[in-house]
């Protein structure tokens, strides 16, 4: 057991008597990790507590909360997962008051693996590990600096590998609509491979991720074709911050900019004619 895992274990041991369960990652047989709800009754399972690789725990939290709305739960979350929980709360997917956040700070290697700009938690009251600074994202910078033709060639090359498994949508903590535009024949040619260019699937998904993407990169991790789609989301997130001063997961009571009315000064920043 590493020092980090040990200190996480100590925090969980402290929290577990006050809550109904602690959601974290458990290492199962064969070394496979998966989200798991640790409870007081089975505290010996805590020996199999794991940290890495990260798993989409906010999604699991939502499922558990829907089944048991009154349950007091704690969750071990990294910076990205915490942002996911905040955004899910803003869109009424979670009950905030029943959740205790245990903030697990990422290490330098983990942050570099994720090209993460914010590998630390901000809302969590319990902290494990030392917060570190964000790391630069060379891939996004590279693509942002390309010319239009180069971008077009790059994305065409990437999207041609897409097998439309919908894995990126399924794993996304922010994709929770009951009726999904990506399953609608009007917008996306379902079952046609390789998808025609420009790819409606990826463009619509990128548009729907505006001011919602929390940069957890679960979609890139899960993609069997290795498409770096989070790059588009990240570039748009920068524009959203510029135009609407909105940062996903940063402030709990800041309303998402998709809401109808333009706020003071927003219109000037969108660059539209007067």
């Amino acid at each position: 057991m590493t020092d980090r895992l040990l200190s996480l274990r100590q925090v969980i041991d402290r929290v577990i008597p006050q809550v109904d369960g602690v959601l974290a990652i458990k290492r199962g047989p064969g070394g496979i990790v998966a989200p798991f709800l640790f409870t007081k009754a089975q505290s010996d399972t805590l020996d199999q507590l794991a940290i890495w690789p990260k798993e989409p725990t906010p999604d699991t939290l939502k499922i558990i909360q829907h089944a048991h709305p009154e349950a007091k739960l704690a969750i071990v979350c990294r910076g990205c997962e915490e942002r996911g929980i905040v955004e899910m709360f803003k869109h009424h997917q979670l009950v905030w008051d029943n959740i205790t956040l245990i903030g697990l700070q990422c290490t330098q290697e983990e942050a570099e693996f994720c090209r993460c700009a914010k590998p630390y938690t901000v809302h969590a009251s319990l902290i494990v590990g030392e917060p570190i600074k964000g790391v630069p994202d060379p891939l996004t910078e590279k693509i942002a600096a390309m010319s239009l033709e180069e971008k077009q060639a790059f994305w065409k090359d990437e999207f041609v590998h897409c097998i439309k498994c919908y894995g990126c949508r399924n794993i996304c903590p922010q994709c929770f609509c009951n009726i999904c535009a990506l399953e609608d024949e009007t917008w996306v040619e379902t079952g046609r491979l390789p998808m025609p260019n420009p790819s409606m699937y990826h463009l619509i998904r990128a548009m729907h991720m505006t001011a919602k993407c929390v940069a957890c990169r679960e979609c890139e991790e899960t993609c069997p074709a290795g498409i770096p789609m989070a790059v588009q989301f990240r570039l748009i997130a920068r524009d959203v911050q510029e135009m609407f001063s909105y940062e996903t997961g940063a402030v709990l009571d800041q309303k998402p900019p998709q809401l109808l009315v333009l706020e003071e000064g927003e219109y000037e920043r969108t660059g539209l004619p007067h």
Binding site: I143, A144, L148, E149, E150, K151, Q152, A153, F154, W155, K156, A181, T186, W187, P196, N197, P198, M200, H202, L203, I204, A206, M207, T210, Q232, L235, I236, D239, V240, M243, F244, P257, Q258, L260, V261, L262, E266, Y267, T270, G271, L272, P273, H274
Partner: protein, 135 residues
């Protein structure tokens, strides 16, 4: 020289009436724009614009009421929020963002309507056909 295909989504209350005004004033503008009348410019979802491009349009125009004049009080605020983001997305995907134009034309601005259409058609004519850039 090719004739660009342009689709114009016009809001029923301002821009479509603006087109009527331009017609009544016998103003000249290029015939490349196919006009689709919609209840409000806020009706135009990004999916709709993307599909229009996918179907082979070289340019898309979204015209609505001026901010503050919307028939549904703040429907065009939606347009003002989503279209700039869509333009950025087009740019990041390698599609020229100038192919999408957003502007505000009121029912009285027949002259502005003709100007907007003329300028946009000129701009699109200078670009290669959209389908060819996607090959």
């Amino acid at each position: 020289m090719y004739e660009p295909k342009i689709i114009g989504f016009l809001c029923n209350w301002c821009s479509y009436r603006g087109a009527d005004t331009a017609g009544m004033a016998r103003l000249k503008y290029p015939p490349n724009v196919k006009i689709i009348r919609v209840p409000c410019s806020g009706r135009i979802s990004p999916e709709l614009v993307l599909r229009t491009f996918r179907e082979g349009a070289d340019g898309v125009m979204v015209l609505g009421c001026h901010i503050g004049d919307c028939h549904y009080s703040n429907g065009n605020h939606r347009t003002a929020k989503r279209m700039p983001v869509l333009k950025k997305l087009l740019e990041y995907t390698g599609i020229d963002p100038n192919r999408l134009a957003v502007d505000w034309v009121s029912a009285a601005e027949g002259e502005k309507f003709a100007n907007v259409i003329t300028h946009f058609t000129e701009k699109i004519s200078a670009l290669p056909p959209f389908v060819e850039t996607m090959k």
